[in-house]
Symmetry: C2
Subunit: 475 residues, 2 copies
């Protein structure tokens, strides 16, 4: 069955283009404009009830001044698209209005979580008797879990005695990895400086020899290395760390190997490598287009999550209940109440099947290749690196006419650095399309296009490039 | 405007009773029964897409075998009820499918968060130039934030250097407080043993003299006291710690005072006291009946949340954007992506007004008093303590006929301990009503009834007591 947005159901491509031109990605206003109450849209909270008519107007205005992340021309973030089955799943979830802490209040959702975790573990390549996991409020919390559990494995006493029970720890991640590793280290009381940032090659992949020497350097300083985060699909470049080489190093030094993974497509799961991973972060709200939020931490060793987080608060998790209380998940979690994030994924899996998810992801990869091909043949643009995209990220500069004759150097860099923000500003004002930009390392501001919305067509990519050229021609 | 559930709209009370008798709170099945595929309801995930007809059946079955937390006879948890405006808010939220990290992708929701936080801060009693906060995935994470920020205030270096930069810390909470304080201490690397558990009086209120001596004892052991969690509405008894006395002690010893608060009704906000609090956890998904999840941490000192959690990942949070980037909240949060939990609360506030929320909470307090009065006059029941309920919790034992002649002592206790679980088991099988039970301290299993659903009427409370008597008569 089709789960495309209504826009896509239109058979006539030129009609689709016309409609897309009329429907804005966003209707931008500055904070002070929205706060001043545009066309009567007041954010203030009343003492007395408003009328139902006014409530409906409030709803309309909220959507009007928001951003259409489901628009086929929203390339700003990886969480985009609007899957109708996923949205239906979220609607039913909010109607059920329950909590994931016990089987008692969520019998069906607790079992769905178990089924989904088992399925994802089998895709990762773990055997039937391996694997545990939990759905988390976002990928950063999933990564935090991986460090928390790895620390517990090194020294279970840390749970009661705190960091004082341990020598100073060291963990490792690449300079292109997500900032959640450092943030988690700060939250967990390890401190952000316990994170050793490993150098990458020009494509954003961790260099194994650099990891090895970083581990040895940490040891020589009296630190205890315990954890390596490998990224399979980095935020900016979409780069894949060399997982096999990292796995070997983790094996040699007996370190916890975590994989922060973005693709959810079997061909990207190299079982021989993932089997070695101690934990995996998987975010179905990215490439699988599940409505926000839907993120999972998978832990290979069963029981570890429970041991690490269990407090046995019997006033909440009674052991003399009339069913098998091993199904209560409250003691596995660092949360108490936990939002039901499983149903929308489960329902989408029913509606698409594994193969449906596969072809949906493939479509995004094809879009990335299409963009790459267009950029290569158009001298108005310059690719950040020459290789074909490994995944759905494509990074590039737009070179406005005034910069084309300039020699590479600090002057050109300084001026090029201002191009993307200016185009982005105009794009937001116009509301026709949305794409992200950022500087990275020694590279000045460049555009990063990511694809996760299966409603995006090649014509939307053509539109994006033309729009950048139009908006940036005078820069 | 009325935001009651459809059941309540019925004018005729006896019709309401008949309908409620027919509509079950739950249709209980054991995990193995549900996993075996009841009446063709399969949880398995397919390789290929299912038909739309099957998807609809899956949705129906998911609701059928779930628990109706919105049922007026669901007394099991504080998060109950089904507010139609709140559900509409959640539906629109999932349709908007965006993220709270930047103004760029969530202009309206970011401003709504600011408006809600300001309103809640003013209710707490903080002045215009005080106060900060953030919406969190549940009350446990809100409490975790309070400890995280308090630790940072003691020693900002902890963010980079970790717990090694600090002497061993001590924090304080009552024996009746929520287990999230201990869990957070474990997660944050302080260790659960850093939590000093302060003795309560018979009503579950922290004893200030015990707090004082606990602080002195910690100091004499070389620990650094830094944080006190006071609870305003404990989980089991609904008890209020003596906030004024605790505030004095915190002032004397210069400790961070956090208040974990349940009531959301102005009369419970004693401004003179809350003004002193450094942080407050407020969970609108409890007494305010906002759909799950909706929880807030309020921090009195502006800027502290941002300083504590900021990492300045410029590849995600660019500073050269075309709007005031102070509105981007990603660096205040320990999450990266953050679910939009503000809109449903904002919309409900519009639909009810502050006074609507007030009368909604009052209704729950009246229900608690009604139950208390019924229990006092019925010798089949025994109250856990004789005082009138301070809030919406009422704790009691049912004494079956066979136990009534027994003298108080270990034998009676042993038998009484088994009564509540057995009645609960029968209740779940029958599906007519749902209430929680637990042991606490030296008290054997007792029922705890909590009210947060404005759809609950006195007749539902009568029904609960009659049902307990019916199900427990032969025990």
């Amino acid at each position: 069955m089709s789960t495309r947005t209504p826009l896509l159901v239109l058979g006539n491509i030129s009609t689709r283009s016309k409609i897309l031109c009329l429907s804005k990605v966003l209707d931008f206003h500055h904070p002070h404009q929205l706060k001043d109450g545009l066309e009567g849209f007041s954010l203030d909270l009343p003492e007395h009830a408003e009328t139902l008519e006014q409530i409906l107007v409030d709803c309309r205005d909220t959507l009007k001044y928001g951003v259409s992340t489901g628009h086929p021309r929203f390339f700003n973030q990886l969480s985009s698209g609007l899957d109708v089955i996923g949205v239906a799943g979220e609607w039913l979830t909010s109607t059920a209005n329950t909590n994931m802490f016990t089987y008692e209040v969520s019998p069906v959702f607790i079992l769905m979580e178990e089924v989904l975790l088992k399925k994802m573990q089998s895709i990762v390549g773990w055997s039937e008797d391996e694997g545990d996991g939990i759905f988390c409020p976002g990928g950063t919390i999933s990564n935090l879990y991986s460090i928390l559990v790895a620390r517990y494995r090194v020294c279970p006493e840390v749970k009661t005695k705190g960091m004082g029970a341990l020598p100073p720890l060291a963990l490792f991640t690449s300079e292109h990895s997500h900032y959640s590793v450092k943030k988690s280290a700060a939250v967990l009381g390890l401190g952000s400086e316990s994170v050793m940032v490993v150098t990458c090659d020009e494509r954003g992949k961790m260099i194994p020899a650099e990891l090895e020497s970083s581990i040895l350097a940490a040891k020589s300083k009296g630190l205890l290395p315990f954890y390596v985060n490998a990224t399979a699909g980095t935020t900016v470049y979409g780069a894949f760390d060399p997982l096999a080489a990292i796995a070997d190093i983790c094996h040699t030094h007996r370190l916890w190997m975590h994989v922060d993974v973005r693709p959810e497509q079997p061909k990207h799961f190299d079982h021989l490598i993932y089997v070695i991973a101690c934990s995996v972060t998987w975010n179905p709200h990215k490439m699988m287009c599940v409505p926000l939020q839907c993120s999972v931490i998978l832990v290979k060793k069963p029981g570890l999550l429970q041991e690490c987080n269990k407090l046995g608060a019997e006033y909440l998790f009674q052991t003399d209940k009339p069913y098998d209380v091993n199904y209560d998940t409250g003691d596995k979690s660092i949360q108490c109440g936990r939002h039901v994030d499983v149903f929308k994924l489960w329902l989408m899996w029913k509606a698409k099947g594994s193969d449906g998810f596969g072809s949906q992801v493939n479509k995004c990869l094809e879009n990335a290749e299409y963009l790459y091909d267009q950029l290569k043949r158009n001298s108005d643009f310059q690719l950040v690196f020459k290789h074909k995209p490994e995944h759905s990220n494509v990074c590039f500069w737009y070179i406005p006419p005034s910069l084309r004759a300039l020699q590479p150097g600090p002057d050109r860099d300084r001026r090029l650095h201002e191009v993307a923000p200016q185009i982005k500003g105009r794009m937001m004002e116009k509301g026709s399309v949305l794409i992200g930009y950022q500087p990275f390392g020694d590279k000045v501001n460049f555009f990063r296009c990511v694809f996760s919305n299966p409603a995006t067509q090649p014509e939307d990519i053509d539109f994006l490039l033309n729009e950048i050229i139009t908006l940036g021609a005078d820069l």
